[in-house]
């Protein structure tokens, strides 16, 4: 599928470092799928959907050139979209679901929560950010049937003081979910995954890898034997068991291994993949 131009119908600042871009586009997308967004002259980058429906939206964490350019768009501007690509979250019916999101990883969990509620699930959410100002979509999540989101901030400025992975561990034991869905920094997700494996709770995690082709050709997005663009971005606990890369390293644009930095043992909440050099 070739990139096609869609118009921006709105740009909203969500937090000091995040913005939402609403598109004049109704993709047939599943929660968790992604799209390659092209800003001519700048870059083409993978983005998840923060809204699916008649006006799809992406929510962007400012990281560098492409994300800055996205947040600087005005209504009426156009971007190229190639997608939806990859495999999204598998939607279960009538289950108790715990959704754990860190940083910008909360974004795809919103349409997921909506879809799960529509499938008769009970949805619990745990949301983390560096500070109170960077908490994303608390209101949108609160508006979706289910208990209000539980919150963690690294600096303790709101909710649980500390990483959302720790909060998630507590909620797992409290709510006894049938399934856990998670998106956010990989070290956070790895902690959640380990806890799920220990407790034999199935889980699905949305991964990020450097993406070039987005269609399973170039191997840039390899994670063990999986290609995140083709087999993911959502991989299940079964997929991920035994994949040495998970929570340990990703690959830079050249294919070299880039370990996940874990200076404080828990990983930062930022969504960045780190830089190769």
């Amino acid at each position: 599928m070739r990139s096609r131009p869609v118009s921006v119908t709105g740009v909203r600042s969500e937090t000091p470092t995040q913005c939402t871009i609403v598109l004049d586009w109704e993709p047939e997308a599943q929660p968790g799928q992604f799209v390659m967004v092209w800003i001519p002259g700048v870059d083409e980058v993978p983005m998840g959907f923060s809204s699916i429906g008649p006006s799809a939206a992406i929510t962007v964490q400012r990281m560098g050139d492409a994300t800055e350019a996205l947040c600087a768009l005005d209504p009426g501007d156009r971007v190229g979209v190639r997608g939806p690509l990859g495999k999204g979250f598998e939607l279960l019916e009538g289950k108790r679901c715990l959704l754990v999101g860190g940083g910008n990883g909360v974004a795809p969990l919103v349409p997921l929560a909506e879809a799960l509620v529509a499938k008769g699930c009970r949805v619990y959410t745990a949301v983390g950010a560096r500070t109170r100002e960077e908490l994303l979509f608390i209101d949108r999540l609160a508006g979706i049937a289910g208990p209000a989101p539980e919150v963690a901030t690294d600096d303790g400025s709101e909710g649980h003081h500390g990483f959302v992975s720790n909060l998630a561990l507590r909620l797992m034991d409290e709510f006894r979910p049938d399934v856990v869905y998670t998106c956010g920094p990989e070290l956070m997700m790895r902690k959640v995954a380990d806890a799920c494996w220990e407790r034999s709770i199935p889980f699905q995690a949305s991964l990020e890898r450097y993406m070039k082709c987005g269609i399973g050709l170039c191997d840039a997005c390899a994670c063990g034997r999986y290609l995140v663009c083709r087999d993911g971005p959502v991989l299940t606990g079964e997929h991920l068991r035994g994949v040495p890369d998970f929570g340990s390293f990703k690959r830079g644009p050249s294919g070299v291994k880039v370990p996940f930095a874990a200076p404080d043992g828990g990983g930062s909440i930022g969504i960045g993949l780190g830089s190769e050099d």
Binding site: W38, E44, D219, R251, S254, G255
Partner: protein
Amino acid sequence: MDGPDISVDLCGVLMENPVMLASGVLGETGPSLLEALEGGAGAVVTKSIGPSPREGNPNPTVVTLGDSLLNAMGLPNPGMEAYAEELEWLRQGSEAPVLASVFGTSPDEYAEVAARLAPLVDGIELNLSCPHAKGLGAEMGGDPAMLEQVVRAVVDVTDLPVLAKLTPNTGDIGALASAAERGGASGLVAVNTLRGMAVDVEMAAPALANTYGGLSGDALRPVGVRCVHEIAGMTSLPVVGVGGISNHIHALEYIMAGATAVQVGTAIRTDGPRILGRIATDLRDWLADHDHSSLADVRGILVRGGHR
């Protein structure tokens, strides 16, 4: 397996079937190469590897055009040292044949990379033809004299079979084939991608960040088959056919035109590398349906002088 014999001896590389993974498609990591072998490839070729890490071109790096594709990856690769680890990992999981694709900016660099990877592989493929990375590949591979030098430099440092992968962006692919033969190549691979460009008219921009890219897939097949037929009729080296193969009939086009084996790249994007095994199986079934006992019955039947 039962049925007609489709095993291949490609200048000493013994393959269970003639369907190989083309260079640059997957092949940047050990696990992807293993997936291709488990998917049924007779052999795999690595991504083209250079002496040091290279990030390649900025995105967008691919544009799909129906069943064809333009790419301008720009030879991203982790460099020969990091890549050697990938191959070591692979070698623990599989004994199936692996060819290392190698590129460089000079004959010496080609030789350096080939020498570094040779102990880990069964053959060397020289990428003399990447049409969209400046100063690399095609610029050397389009000039017969330079191509001959590169081949000779690599042949001098390894006992493995050395296959020269040729560019179709030339008025005379025969001259390139002859140069490779003179340089001491054991085999030829034809073809790499055609240099192309697509414009996104609504965006008023080239569809690739690099403007130009390599055309692969369906659109390339008639050119690839013609190149294989041309060179199969003039050298005695085995030729590997590449370009636009997505089923066994396409593979047979190349094989009848003189190819000893074939490689598949772009077609992998739909179903992943298990398509390689499917093409091999369908090839065997086709031979059986047509009362052939071996691939040799049809190989090169369209080349002057008949069977090869």
